[in-house]
Symmetry: C4
Subunit: 233 residues, 4 copies
C-alpha cells in the first residue's frame, strides 16, 4: 500500500468535483494537491476522462517534475503546477479548468472587475488577467513559463497570492489555488460565477461602476478580518 | 424536545429549496421563518453547506438577535432579518440569495422594469433596487443598516411591503419575503426568472417598453383582486 | 368510472411534460386536449403545482366554458382555449407557457424571424407576435379577447392556423397548438428553442439576414410536402 | 444474426450520446459510422426519438444510398453522409446536430474565430461557415449538394478535412466527423462549447483579437505534433 494514498484520495476527490460543478466537459481540467512534508504533489493523469478516473491513477511527482509514483503520464499542465508549488510555499492545491465564463473573459483579455459583494466576500481586487506570453516564452518551456507569467502578473499588479487565489491567463483560461485542493476547486467555481455575473451586469448596464472601496473593505472583513463573523469558527 | 421544532422544520425545508431551485451555490443564501406568537425567528446557521445542513442546526433568536436555542452561529445576515421582522409585522419569512440574474441587476444598479404579465401576475411596479449605502452606514452596524436601506427605499418610492415582496440591494443582491418562509423562497425564484426575462428582452429590443397600466392592473387583479379567479381558493 | 378518463390522461401527460422540458417553473403554464366527438375539452386546474397534479384533477368543460366534470376550478386561461377550439375546428390540443425566450420575444414585441432551417423544418414564416390588446378589450372579457387577438393577428398577417401552430401575445407569452395535446407541447418546446437561437444569432451578427425563400421552401417540403422524405410515414 | 451488429452498436451508442451531451432535443440530429472494408455505413433512422431508438433500428446502406439492411427509412440527411464517405476516405464517422450555439453561428453566417487555447488544442483555424447554397443547387439533389457545398468550402479556404473536422452550413447547422462515430460526436460537443465561448467573448469585448499564431502552433503541437505530450499514448 502506498504511503501517498491519502494524498491521492484528496486529489481524486477534488478532480471529481469538476464535472459535478459543471466546470469541465471531457478532460478539460485538472487539480493537484501537495504534501509539503513529503515535498511531493499529486495530479490528475493526462487525458483520462472523469468517468473512468480512479484514485490509483493519480500521479505523484516531486517539485522538479520527477514521477515518484504512478504508471500514467501526468497532466500536460504539470509544470505550471510544480512551478507554483515551488514559488508559493503556502498553497496546498491548484485547479485548472476551461470553464465557460472564465475562458470567455480570458479570451477577451480583460480583468473581471469587482462589481458586487459576492466578489468582495472573497477578494478585494479585480480578478487579474495575465497577458498572453511573448513568442520567445511560448516556444520555450511553455508550461513552466505559464507559471512565470502568473508570477509576473502578480508582481506587476502588486497582488499577494494568499489574498487573491485566482488568475486568468490571457487567451487560455483560469488557474486557481488555495490551502488545499478542495479550496482550489471552490475558487474555480467562485471565479466562474463571478465571471458570469460580471458579464450579465455589463449587458444590463455597460456603465455599471466598480464596487466602492468602503463596501469592498466591509464585506471582506466580515468574512476574513480580525473580527470576522461569517461561518462557525 | 424543543418547542421550536416545527419552526425549525419550516425554516430547514425552505432553505433546502434554494439549491433545488438553482438559486444558490455553496452557502450563498439563507432563509428565516418567524413565529409571531413566540416573538422568535429561526434562521440558517452561518457558512454551513446545504448538503450537511440538518433541521436541528437551525438557530432560534428573538427580535433583538439574542440566541434562544441552537449551538451554531446564526447567518451573518441575521440583523437584516430581525430588522425587517421588527419593522414589518405582517411578514412570516425572509429569503436572501446571490442568484445570478438578481445579483446582475443589483450590480447594474437598476430597477427591474415591469415588462410583461409574468411580472404583473405578482406585482404592479418595477422591482426596486436600493442604492448602495453611504460610507458612514457601511462602517456602522452594517446588516442592521441594510434593513434600514430597504425601508428607506420603500419610503422613497412609496411602496408597500405587503404588495411588493422583493428588493435588490445595489451591488449586493436580493432580499424577498412573504407570509411564510416558503413564499419568501417562491419570491426569490420569481425574481430570478423576471430578472432573466427582462435582461433577454432588452437584448432583443433595447427599446422595449414597460407594460401598459391597463395590463398591469388586469393581471394583478386576476390573481389578487376582489374578484380573483386564479388558483383554487 | 368517467367516460373522459382517456381524455384526462392525454391532458395530464401533456401537462407533465412541461416541467420535464424546462418550459415552466411552478404553475406558469397549462395544456388542454379536446374530444371533438363529445364536444368537450380537458384542461389543467388553476394554480395546482405539477408535483402534486393527478389525472383525476383535470377539469372537463364544454366549448361554452361550462364544467362538465371535475371538482377544481379550471385554468384561468380557459376562455382563451375554448375560444380557439370553437374557431379552429382542426386543432386537438393547446399549450400555454411562460417559457424564458418566448416570453422575452413577446416582451420585446417582435416577431421571431425565420433565420435557419431548424425553423423552416416546421413553419415557413416568422413566428408572429400579436400586439398587446387595446384598453377596452383588456377591461372586458380578457381571456376571451386574448383568443380574438390571436385570430385578428392571423387575419392581419394572412396566416393559416394549420400551417403556423404558434403565436406570441405581446407582453404576455406564447400559445401553441396542434393535432393533439402532445403536438401542442412539442410546438412550445420548438418555439422556445427557435427563440433562443434567434436571440443568440442577433447577438453574434445584428445584421444576420432572414432565411432565403428557396431554403424555406425546400426544408418545409422535405418534411411536409407531397414528396416528404422525413420520418417513417 | 446480422454481420453488421457491431457497426450498428457503434452507431447506436454514438447517437445516444447526443441527448446526454445536450446537443439535441427531440430528433434534431443524426450520427453515422462507416465500415470501410464492407463499404457500408450505418445511420440513424429518420424521425425516431432517442428514447425509443434501439440498436436494431439502425439502417445499413452502401455508398450509393442503397439500403443493405434495415426496415426503417434512413435519416433524411443520408445523402450528405454518403457523399462525405465517398469523398473523404479517412473518416470513420459523421455527426449532424442542431445544437444551440453552432446553429446560431451558422444563422449568423460567420466563421467561429479561433480566440483561445481551448480551440487551438484541437484545430489551428477558424471553424469555417459554408455559405448557403445557390437556388439551383437547393432545388436539385439537396442533401447531396450539401456535401458538395462542404467540399467547395474546404477547397476555397484551403482546409484539410483530416485537420479541420467540423463545418457550419450557413443558415443550417453543424456537420462534424472523425476517425469513428464517437470522435464525430466529441467534435460536435467541442464545436458547441467553442461557439458558446466565442459568443460570450465578443459580448465581453467586441474587439477581442484572434489568438496569435505562436500560441495556435504551440497548443496544437502539444496535443497533435511529433512530440505531443498530451494524453496517455
Amino acid at each position: 500500500m502506498s504511503k501517498y494514498n491519502e494524498l491521492k484520495r484528496e486529489c481524486y476527490e477534488a478532480n471529481m468535483q469538476l464535472p459535478q460543478l459543471d466546470l469541465v466537459v471531457y478532460t478539460f481540467g485538472n487539480v493537484s494537491a501537495v504534501d509539503r512534508d513529503a515535498a511531493v504533489f499529486a495530479i490528475k493523469p493526462s487525458g483520462v476522462p472523469y468517468e473512468v478516473l480512479k484514485p490509483e491513477d493519480i500521479v505523484i511527482l516531486d517539485y522538479e517534475n520527477n514521477v515518484i509514483e504512478g504508471k500514467m503520464r501526468p497532466s500536460s499542465d504539470t509544470r505550471t503546477h510544480s512551478f507554483l508549488y515551488r514559488e508559493w510555499p503556502e498553497i496546498g492545491g491548484i485547479c485548472h479548468t476551461h470553464s465557460t465564463y472564465a475562458v470567455s473573459w480570458a479570451q477577451a483579455q480583460r480583468d473581471i472587475p469587482i462589481m458586487g459583494t459576492t466578489h468582495a466576500d472573497y477578494l478585494t481586487s479585480d480578478i487579474p488577467c495575465a497577458p498572453p506570453m511573448n513568442d520567445e516564452l511560448i516556444e520555450g518551456n511553455y508550461e513552466h513559463n505559464t507559471g512565470q507569467q502568473i508570477l509576473d502578473c502578480f508582481a506587476d499588479k502588486g497582488l499577494d497570492y494568499r489574498e487573491v487565489e485566482m488568475v486568468l491567463i490571457g487567451n487560455h483560461g483560469p488557474f486557481t489555488w488555495g490551502k488545499d485542493a478542495g479550496k482550489a476547486v471552490f475558487n474555480s467555481k467562485l471565479l466562474e460565477e463571478l465571471g458570469r455575473m460580471a458579464c450579465l451586469t455589463l449587458m444590463i448596464n455597460p456603465n455599471a461602476p466598480r464596487l466602492k472601496d468602503s463596501l469592498i473593505k466591509k464585506h471582506y472583513e466580515r468574512k476574513h478580518g480580525k473580527n470576522a463573523y461569517y461561518g462557525q469558527n
